[in-house]
């Protein structure tokens, strides 16, 4: 059991401001500092590859987060299914998606959350040729 770390390393990042040296509006950059911040969260999300772990998580989500040593705000983001916060707190989209899949959520649903749209609206924009400007 690891003690919950504080998230003081690196600069705080929100999905509206890119981290690292690259600044593309509306584009989170999963860089080294972000990955350091998110390591325990991402390791927990990776563990969902096994059905046993998925069951244990579902039985007591907070305890499972504590077992992986998530920071309090990461645990809260997981419990609240605050997808944007998970990305801001160092989650990689490919890892965060594993939790979404457990909830029966699609990548288009997440896209809707990140862009303030319903899943249907987001999907309609993709079918219309994709979103040109964020």
């Amino acid at each position: 059991m690891t003690a919950a770390p504080t998230l003081t390393e690196g600069t705080p990042m929100s999905s509206s401001e890119a981290g690292g040296r690259i600044d593309v509006p509306g584009t989170p950059i999963f860089d080294g500092q972000t990955s350091r911040r998110g390591l325990r969260l991402n390791k927990m999300l990776m563990s969902f590859r096994s059905a046993d772990n998925r069951e244990r998580f579902t039985a007591d989500e907070a305890a499972y987060c504590a077992e992986f040593g998530l920071a309090p705000e990461q645990t809260q983001a997981v419990l609240d299914r605050d997808w944007t916060a998970m990305i801001d707190l160092g989650g990689s989209i490919f890892y965060v998606y594993k939790l979404a899949m457990m909830d029966g959520r699609s990548m288009q649903y997440l896209g809707g959350v990140f862009t303030g749209m319903t899943e249907e609206e987001f999907q309609a924009e993709l079918r219309a040729g994709g979103r040109r400007h964020g």
Partner: protein, 282 residues
């Protein structure tokens, strides 16, 4: 001496595999994509290589973030299909070619490309979807053994496009120096433009993709000169995985000819492209 027959660049979007696995290829949402694959599949069925090299990235299935190798190569006898969270795809496990893997490794290291060695590796949609694009009904086995080459495209800093192209050129020389007379197909996978997270999620750039589809054949060094930032800006934060096409292209002749190209969107959140290149100039 081994010889490259063809290069197949293709998106590896998981939903393309899912659409095939669930028999949805005739659905209106998917039909144009799969119709677009048909000419490539027909040509590939008549040009079966002895071995294939698949350049791909893992997506939190075979690797986690404990170790992030910039470039890697599988050297195993076989590679199990990963459970990505909903059970493994019902497709054959992948047979390896460790002799070729070890030859490529040595040759590439001698040229200064220090690849990480994977003696055990479970392969995810990044590798199996391109095999399905090539061979929709593999039966009990894929058409030939496979050497996986892995690229970190998930955690910044990804290798530069120029480095990927140079690795491809070294790979071409490594293939040419193999002692066995075998034929090789190379798959470069990923892309095209897309972005999954952030307020720019859903970003797709058809003009950039059209440029990329043309220049991958005619002017790959122009693509190799794009910076990481330019790729993320123009192709999206996940579209940067197009750099893996440059490894495939680098291993081919300077002049190649197009067998077939097709562009489709959306495959879930992604623009999906295919470019099948014959290694002989037209």
């Amino acid at each position: 001496m081994a010889e490259v027959l063809w290069g197949l660049a293709t998106s590896h979007v998981p939903s393309i595999g899912a659409a095939m696995d669930r028999g949805k290829t005739e659905d209106p949402a998917w039909k144009d994509l799969f119709d677009g694959y048909a000419p490539a599949r027909a040509w590939l069925a008549e040009h079966r290589p002895d071995v294939a090299i698949v350049v791909y990235n893992d997506h939190a299935n075979g690797l986690d973030l404990d170790i992030v190798p910039t470039f890697g190569i599988g050297t195993a006898d076989s590679y199990r299909v990963a459970d990505e969270g909903y059970g493994p795809r019902q497709v054959p496990d992948v047979i390896g070619d460790p002799d070729l893997s070890l030859h490529l490794l040595e040759s590439l290291i001698d040229e200064g490309f220090d690849l990480t060695v994977f003696q055990e590796l479970e392969v995810d949609h990044g590798l199996t979807v391109p095999l399905s694009v090539w061979t929709p009904d593999p039966g009990d086995a894929w058409p030939c053994p496979v050497v996986p080459i892995l690229v970190n495209v998930i955690q910044y800093p990804q290798p530069t496009a120029a480095r990927c192209y140079a690795l491809g050129q070294a790979l071409g020389r490594a293939i040419a120096s193999y002692r066995e007379d075998v034929t090789v197909g190379i798959l470069g996978t990923g892309g095209m433009s897309h972005q999954l997270a952030g307020s720019r999620a859903g970003f797709i750039n058809p003009e950039f993709d059209a440029m990329w589809l043309e220049k991958i054949e005619t002017d790959p060094s122009a693509l190799a000169s794009l910076s990481r930032e330019e790729l993320i800006r123009q192709a999206g934060s996940e579209g940067i995985e197009l750099i893996m096409w440059l490894i495939m292209r680098g291993a081919m002749n300077p002049r190649v000819s197009t067998v077939h190209k097709h562009y489709f969107l959306p495959a879930s959140n992604t623009a999906a492209g295919i470019a099948l290149l014959d290694n002989r100039p037209g």
